[in-house]
């Protein structure tokens, strides 16, 4: 039953609109989801498929927005389900999955600081990885980012 095509069909039946499934192989399912449905789809997957966990998420900067891909793996099976939602520019934002599963906590913080996506409803949206000397507007994974333009707020070097 843990077959990409099969799950794709079930997803399509449950959410007749706003979702587009593309099985890549029996082990890989990609589904583009309307951002408004994102939470419902994620909740449905977590409820319906035993052993499902959020493996990680990827953010990709595109011209019209930031594409956020949530990759769900299923323990004990080769299946990886990826749901994609586009956070449209300007001011990209998406609902947060962190309330559904703590596994989303860190990765959403990372995407938000490196790509500038706001996650609505994230319980703890602090900075995770990016150096504290870099400003919020420095978004290193955006296409238009140029490392030469970085201005750091380091202050004076320590006194002797």
């Amino acid at each position: 039953m843990n077959d990409a095509t099969e799950i794709g069909k079930r997803l399509g039946r449950r959410f007749p609109e706003g979702i587009e499934c593309a099985p890549h192989s029996p082990r890989r399912l990609y589904a583009r989801v309307d951002p408004r449905l994102l939470l419902d789809v994620a909740r449905w997957l977590l409820e319906q498929i035993p052993g499902l966990r959020l493996a990680t998420s990827t953010g990709i900067d595109l011209r019209d927005g930031v594409d956020v891909l949530h990759h769900f793996a299923v323990n004990g099976s080769p299946l990886v389900i990826t749901i994609k939602a586009l956070a449209a520019k300007p001011g990209p934002r998406l609902p947060s999955l962190a309330a559904l599963t703590p596994a989303a906590d860190w990765i959403e913080r990372e995407i938000s600081e490196l790509l500038g996506v706001a996650f609505d409803g994230h319980p703890d949206p602090r900075r995770l990885l990016k150096a504290r000397t870099l400003g919020d507007q420095v978004l290193p994974l955006r296409r238009d980012f140029d490392p030469r333009t970085i201005k750091e707020t380091t202050g004076e070097p320590p006194a002797r």
Partner: protein, 147 residues
């Protein structure tokens, strides 16, 4: 004999090392720890890792200096009593290696140190990672250079 010469001689007998793994891939860090384990056992030469820069003669840096840890490194260096030397272990510490173009690297380790002390003594041990034998050879060279 000048007191500084005396201090340098004392340092040579048993250099105490404070290790800061800056932001390399930690392979260098592991090879450094390896130097302490039975096969290489540098403690028999009096080389010892210590827990505070205030007790150390040698500041050992591995990895490039990330923006996040640059200040910490400079502060650690300044806290060390003179005479002091900096040992840069690994290609990353020597020349930033593969991280040269990375956005979150603050600069080559030697520059970061020279920023706070223009007369700092630096010893480079390249390799990715250098084998423990190489690191030991680097320490020996360092001691020879101090003589």
């Amino acid at each position: 004999m000048a007191i500084s010469t005396l201090l340098l001689r004392a340092l040579k007998k048993s250099p105490w090392v404070f290790h800061v793994g800056t932001s390399g891939c930690n392979n260098c860090d592991i090879e450094i720890a390896d130097c302490m384990t039975p096969r290489f056992d540098v403690e028999r030469f009096g080389v010892r890792l210590v827990g505070s820069p205030r007790h150390a003669d040698v500041l050992l840096l591995s990895g490039p200096i990330s923006r996040g840890c640059r200040r910490a490194v400079q502060e650690a260096y300044l806290q060390m009593p003179a005479p002091k030397v900096v040992l840069l272990v690994g290609t990353c510490a020597c020349s930033m290696g593969i991280y040269r173009d990375a956005y979150s690297v603050a600069g080559p380790a030697d520059q970061v140190i020279l920023e706070v002390d223009r007369n700092a003594r630096l010893v480079y041990v390249p390799g990715c990672p250098p084998k423990p034998e190489t690191i030991i050879a680097g320490v020996v060279k360092l001691l020879e250079a101090l003589a």
